[in-house]
Symmetry: C2
Amino acid sequence: MNETSRNIPDQRYGERLTACRQTMVEREFAALFIGVGPDLRYLTGFVGEATERLTFLVIPREGPVSFVVPRLEVEKASTAPLVRAGHAEVTPFEETDDAPALVADLLAHRQLSTGRAAWEPIGLSDRLWAMHVLQMQAALPGRKFERASVVMRDLRQVKDADEARLLALAAAAADRTVDGIAAGPLVGRTEADVSREIRRRLIDEGHDLADFAIVGSGPNGASPHHDATERTIAAGESIVLDLGGTLAGYASDTTRTIWVAGEDSIAPQPEFGLVYALVRDAQARATSAVAPGVPAEQIDAVARATITSGGYGEFFTHRVGHGIGLEVHEDPYMVAGNTAPLAPGMAFSVEPGVYLPGRWGVRLENIVMCAPDGATVLNRSSLDLRVVRG
Amino acid sequence: MNETSRNIPDQRYGERLTACRQTMVEREFAALFIGVGPDLRYLTGFVGEATERLTFLVIPREGPVSFVVPRLEVEKASTAPLVRAGHAEVTPFEETDDAPALVADLLAHRQLSTGRAAWEPIGLSDRLWAMHVLQMQAALPGRKFERASVVMRDLRQVKDADEARLLALAAAAADRTVDGIAAGPLVGRTEADVSREIRRRLIDEGHDLADFAIVGSGPNGASPHHDATERTIAAGESIVLDLGGTLAGYASDTTRTIWVAGEDSIAPQPEFGLVYALVRDAQARATSAVAPGVPAEQIDAVARATITSGGYGEFFTHRVGHGIGLEVHEDPYMVAGNTAPLAPGMAFSVEPGVYLPGRWGVRLENIVMCAPDGATVLNRSSLDLRVVRG
């Protein structure tokens, strides 16, 4: 497996299923219903979008695993690595079948509707649609349901070598996108136009999907989740660029704040320079705090203390980071209250920001991985303030 | 409002909210919790992606409507047309707040946790993530939850003039994409390469997002939901092209099956020609059956009877169509068992198909709208078998 391979070896899926079932035993789950989404991709390699047609990997704690799919997905489901390797059997239903009843029957056949197993919860994948949650609750009255992430979190938040490689490839593609945009020109263009260029570059640099491209120019940078608008970018203002896509399923997510000087080389006002340096310092200190055993909330606290001591604490309005992998936001979250310890293989963002309403914002974001001796930073594009002339 | 405007007038959102609450009274819902997704876009104009951060439009049957959002979405939420027009107030929560508890409190303040209202269900938007469903069920123990689509379906499935215009614009953009691909060349290219070209053309022709681009060449056409692969397209085989995107939120979805003749002008085998004619006949007959008052299942039955009488009934393995609007699949579904009558303004696909495993498939799909006097067909690209030379 070379460093640019986009492949996850087939046997990995069987290993993940085994680990999943071990965790189910520890946490006392009778079964998991995993709908189309990141949990399903993690366990089976199946790539797809959730739809109104119920599609479940049904994992009882023991015995055969069933991949319940609508008839027209059978050929596709049969090529999923977990199925190909013989670890799950495809169970199709017809358009006019009652799929929730079929899943309930399956549970009864697996002896999970009687005795002790009947009292243990069934885990539902976090992103399963409410329509399917409510259908299954109606089909299995009295049954207790919990979030499958109680089981899946521990598996997914520690990345294996293949996942680490894909996250690094995605980060590098995002870095090249940032560099391309920061090369300009930007003056006179709309945010929406720059956002389109970002999406195009994300794909050209190797992502399969361009998922988001925030372009917050001038005062729009003060809204952390600003959507690109028809506002025209002018010389003498900053832009928050927050962009990402997915590569072989794995997400990139990086933010740089740049300065548009224009041909007259307009310099930033002093306060902007101070805040930029403060956010950069907070980002660096938080990254330095990453190590195995450190509580996740500590990473947030380190960044927050830095920004608060600089006098801008009230303008740092969000947590400092989120886990990343098959989802752009996933466990572990770097937020006050999350005392769970970091462990080698965890990947997450470190992205402090300061937002001054009506004026501008500064955010700097890297993806880092917890390594045995500290943090490995996946994003390599410069954290120096980029000054764009054109 | 001209025919190419992508705008939905602001006042429409207030009208939709009023209609929604009238339906809530009829169906005896105490409140709706509408998460980020098509229902939220329909009611507020808010465009976004669902995330792990709870984001709810809380609609009690009476009294103030609250848009509960994480702090960092406040500026964006405030610009949603429904909020701008004063019909909903933004209620922010902090990263460390217990958002489900906050929503539960809100319900209590609206007198919806006591008396008769406490026994009436709360509607959850169909696509709300299971994690939020389970959180709200835990925060409101004993409360009954139902699908919000019980209320939303009747509103959303009948399109107004603005929605009809956007669906027509999206359909026309999809038609131009089909025409561009059918102009060739195709021989010697991979399915994945053609799929990328489709996605690029969908955007170039006016979609905001390119959502899917099925390229099922030769035997791959027999899998209705085939993903484009590295298979190379050869002369002397058919391709099922099923593609769509969204334009101002509204979806396109069209399918054409084309014949790749190559430079030597290889003709299709006779059975392919017969099946193509049969599917085309079924598509035409089903379209002709569209009229107000006709049960939705009748459209399916007409197409199925045609294909069955031609001897290929067992190979038509899916329903004949689905509603389309802010979702590519939504109510009403053209499927056996759906006896609900069609009404003017309903938009849906008519897409019979025949799939011969290991050989090839044929599917033809148009989006149609039910009009007072029959069907208005939105897709205009030719249903004749396209023969591609190169």
